[in-house]
Structure formats: structure tokens, C-alpha cells
Amino acid sequence: MNSLIWTVIILTVLGCILALVLSLVARRFHVVEDPRIDAIEKALPGANCGGCGFAGCRAFSDAAVKAGNLDGRYCPVGGTPVMREVAAILGVQTEEKAPQVAVVRCNGSFANRPRVNDYDGLKSCKVKAALYAGDTHCPFGCVGCGDCVAACAFGALSLNAETGLPVVDEQKCTACGKCVQACPKHVMELRNKGPRGLRVFVSCINKDKGAVARKACAAACIGCGKCAKVCAHEAITVQDNVAYIDFTKCRLCKKCVAECPTGAIHAVNFPVLPKKEEEKKDE
């Protein structure tokens, strides 16, 4: 019985002493932090995806508070609503950006782009792209090892087993830009989501001459320039045998889509018209 009492007493005293030490140490080494850092971090999505260019949401908040402004600091995941909140905390203005989404600029499905050899190394786009031009005759397009899928922190990307191409889940994509960085072929692009998700883009970046590009892939942009001619808004430029649609100028008239001889231009989320081909609105 005696020993029990002693045990209790010793432990209690020990606990008290240690608690005292702990609290003293905590006070002695207390780091004074601007409360706005916590506030901003709380306002941010907390995904720590690095899409803003900082190591995480905390680093973003820290940098923003230190600088006292939001120049060049934008959270693509939270978008304008979150950035307004952050701006309010800091008492500054933020730039208004249209919501964006990642798009896959490659039509090179197994059906469109015949395979001419079999890659047998590590399943990594980075390794494969550094090794050689790829397993098709198109040296520009997607190499299909899924580095973008691995890079996506939001589960918005997946490889379609039938086409071999990555597919973006618009609902989940936050436009953080990780896939754009991960893709060694620069196939991924961040584009404005468009009103009601409507958007038109050239799903090809093949810079080979038309005949070569077409031989490599049935749905390649052959740089014929028909789309640029038909476009009434000067949104389309053809450079290095490949067309590009400027999403800030495009008015979604879809004339180019109808004009494209290879079907390289995709119009997404438009209501299905009876005469439209099914394939052009997938993805």
C-alpha cells in the first residue's frame, strides 16, 4: 500500500514539473506569426498541390503576407472566389481569372495512330520521351505512360485503356497545372473552361508537314489553314504546321470544327446535334 502511495506522489510531482518545463519552453521559444497567415491558409483549399508555384498552402500564405500583395500569386484551385477572400484578408486587390481546365492536345489513340514498336522500359513518359521519339511515327504526341495521371493530386486524370490517352475529369480538374509540368511532350494545356464548359480547341501539336503528320496519325492537324481562313474572329493561328485556337478570342462558333479535314479540332460540351459526329464531342 505504501509503495502505491509513493508511486502516485512521485508521478504527480514529476508530471507537474514537466508541465511547468513544457509551458516555459513553449513561452520562451514562441514564434510570433502574423495571424493573417493562418487566416489565409484557412481560406485556401488546403490541397497543398503546389499549383500556385509554392510548396503548399502555408508557403503561399506566408509569401503573400510577407509581400503584402498578391502580385503573381494566384490559387488556381480555389479560383476567383477564394482569391477574393484572400484579398480581403490582406486588404488588396486580386486579379480576376476565368476558371480553367486541363485539356489533352493529342488525338493519337491506338486507332488513329498505329504503333510501330513496343516500348519495354520503365513506364514513365519522362524516361520514354528522353529515350526516343515514341512508339508511333508521331514524335510530338502523347507517349501514354501516364506521368500526368501520377502527377494529378485530385484524381482528375486517368488513362483510357481503349485509346491509350489520358482523360480529364472536368469536375475534378482544378487547373493546378501539375500535369502540364509533368508532360515531357507538352501535350497538356490549361485553357479557359468557357461559358457552361463550352470550348473549342485543336487536339494536336504535331509540327510535321501535313503529309507526314497524316501518315503518322489519322486525326493529326496537318496545318492546312482551313480553320484559320474560316474563323471570323482571328482566333486561329497556324504556325509550324499546326493550328492553335486562342481561347480568349474564340467565340465558339464551331465553324472551324466543321471545316477541319482530319477532325483534329474538338468542340466540347456542346449539345449534341443530330448531324454531328459522335466522336467529336467525347472527352
Binding site: 519495354d120 520503365l122 524516361v127 528522353a130 521519339a133 511515327h137 514524335p139
Partner: protein, 443 residues
Amino acid sequence: MGGVHPDDSKFARESRIEVLGVPQKVFVSMSQHLGAPAKPVVAVGDFVKTGQLLAEPGGFISACIHSPVSGTVKSVAPRKDLAGNMAMHVEIEVLGDLWEDSIDLSTKLIKDIPEDREAILQKIKDGGVVGLGGATFPTHVKLNPPPGKTAECLIINGAECEPFLTSDYRMMLEHPQEIVVGAAIMQKVLHACPCVIAIEENKPEAIAAMQKAVADLAYPDIRVAVLRKRYPQGGEKQLIDAVMHRQIPSGGLPVDVGAVVQNIMTAFAVYEAVQKNKPLISNVLTVTGDGVPANMQHNYLFRIGVPFSYIIEQAGGVPENTAKIVSGGPMMGKAFANLEATTVKGSSAVLYLSAERTRRKAEGPCIRCGRCADACPMGLEPFLLNRLAKAGDTQELENAAVQDCIECGCCLYSCPAQIPLLDRIRPAKAQVLGIIKSRNVKK
């Protein structure tokens, strides 16, 4: 230290060197050497003779390129190399075989070496000679160490440690005297430093032939050294360690420890360039593979610029059961993505590999057996580098000396779990080298 012992597989060792013909068209690449691509000096429609200058060096580290055939220049345009990437090529339609007049085509051995060191260097440079051991580093640059550094030993690399390859071996058997003269020329350029011809112990006939040639020609201070058989014995760093017992510091050059290494074929090319005025327009290449019938195993003297598809056709076509075709040896060679690609100065083999021999198996978990670390000739720990590369920790990668990796492939070769170690380490090494470089620039 380190190294692996793959099956020798030198099936083509008994095949004499045959002279390969030329097709109707050849394509001469402008990127055949380490460094800047060469700049074409011919125009479409020009008639060129065999051995005529096609392109001049595009920078300090670059080399001349000469026409391997006589004929008409049809185009100067980008064309796919063996990896399918675009590179500038000069296309020549072959007409007869008219050689430049200055070239000595006799087979007579010329033993007397020119006295003027600068003149020799100029001839090597004008001959477009590059290292034919794999790296294709311009020879005249290597033979001219920067001020303050002197060569104490010239090593002629006859190790040929890659399995399957036999071109150096055949050259040592068939042209030992020319090789020794070539070595003596380089020795002269390097201010008469000692010269060691290093050969692996598994080639006794080549050792005997070279020893006889060295004795017959009686140049001072040249000897033959016999090396233990292992891969990569012929790697520059390993060779210097084996012959001179010196190790190049990380990031350093062979000449930092007083060594200059040149390949057997390079010595031969130096001989031809200096003694015969013949630029580097041909090389010897082995056509071989596992399970390939004997009549399809060849050692060819080919004109540089002949497409691989032509060589394969002349050698009897792609054998059955071929799953992968490799340009070069099985450990460091490049797999063909495009057989229409053209031969370059450094082409050393067309290697057919069966699926059974070459197909990668599924990656298993690391069982920490340590074989990769035992195999690494640089004393690195590939299992660790693999883990760090996966994590993308460039700081730790640099601490673990990923930048010292020579990409010999021993780690991947030896891993029982079939982990693609080198596949992951290679890009990590490139990244770390980039970081080191930019840091040095800042300093």
C-alpha cells in the same frame, strides 16, 4: 571494384572482316560525334568524291565529316535517326567509287611517323577522327590536353568488354601493326608518354597478335597489358584504375590523373588519317545475336552513312525470333526505333536479341540483396539512388553521388527483382548534373 560477368556471347569472333558494299543512296548524319553538329559545306547537286569534305566542325568540340562514297548530293535535310528523332543528313546518290587523289589506297604499312606534332594533330582533325569506343569524342581535342595538364600514360582500349561485340577483336587479329603505328603516333603527339595496350584476358589470340606487333615494330615504351575479364572493364574510368591504379576525381577528366584513353579502332583511324591521308569514312561493325545462325554472323568494314537496313539485308535479313534490334552492345547500346536510320562513326554492332533474352520482366519489390551495389563499378548504391529518384530528392541524390553514374547498366542487369534501376537513375542524374552546372555558372 564492382562489375558484372555476363555471358561472353562473342559468336562472331571467328568471322573475318568483310568489306561491305554500298547501296544506291547513303545518308551522312551531321551529328555523329559528341559536341556541336557539323556544318555542311556541300550543296544539292554537287558531285563529291570518296573522302571529300562534306561538313566542317560546328564548334570547338566537333569534327569534320567526309563523304563515304562518290556521287551526287541529292539533299541536305533533316531525317530520322535510330531513335526516330530528326537530325540533319546529307543524302548522296552513289556514282562509281572515285576517291580523293590525296588518299593512299595501298595496303603497305608505313612505319615512319611524321616529326611535327602540330601537323599530326591537324591531320587527325582534318580526318574527322573521333573516339570509336562509344563516346565519339573528337580525338584531336582529347590528344591536346589543356595547358597545365600532361599525359603520363596513353591507354589503348582493347578490352571490348561488351558481350557480343567482336569488331575490335577482329581488328587486333587482322591489323595489329596498323594499330600499333596509330598508337605510336598518338604517343608522339602526347610528348612520348608511355603507352599501354589493354586487352581483357579472354582474348588470348588478340593479346598474342598485339604483343607480336609491338615486338616487331619496336617503338619505344609501348606494352600490352592483360586485364581481368569483367564488364565494364573498358569503361574509361575503370580502365585507368586497372592500368594505372588511379581514380579520376568526381567530375574530373582522365587527363586530371595523367591518362588519355583511346580505342583500338581509333588508333587504326589515326593511322589511316596520318599515314594514308584517309579520313574516317569507314568503321568495322559486328552483326550478331543470340541464336543467330553462323552464316549470319559478320564483321563488316562498312562505309559510314550506309543505312542499317542495307547492312541487315546484306547480312541475310532479320533472323527469326528477334524481339529487339540494338545498335551497339547489349549493355549500353541503343535499341532501334527506326531501321532506316543510317550508320554513324560510332556504330559498332547490329545486335539481334530474342524476347527470352531481352524482354523486361515485371518489377518486384527490392529484397535488399545488395547485388546492385556490388555490381556498381563506381561504388554507388543504385537501390538508394532508385529510392531517392522516385522521391525526387535532388539534394540527397547529389550526396549519394548520382552524378558519378556512368550508365553502364550493371545495376539493372544484376537486379533479381528486375527493378528498372538505371531507367530511374538516368533522368535523376541528368537533373542533378543540370543543378550542379547552373550552380557552377553562378559561382
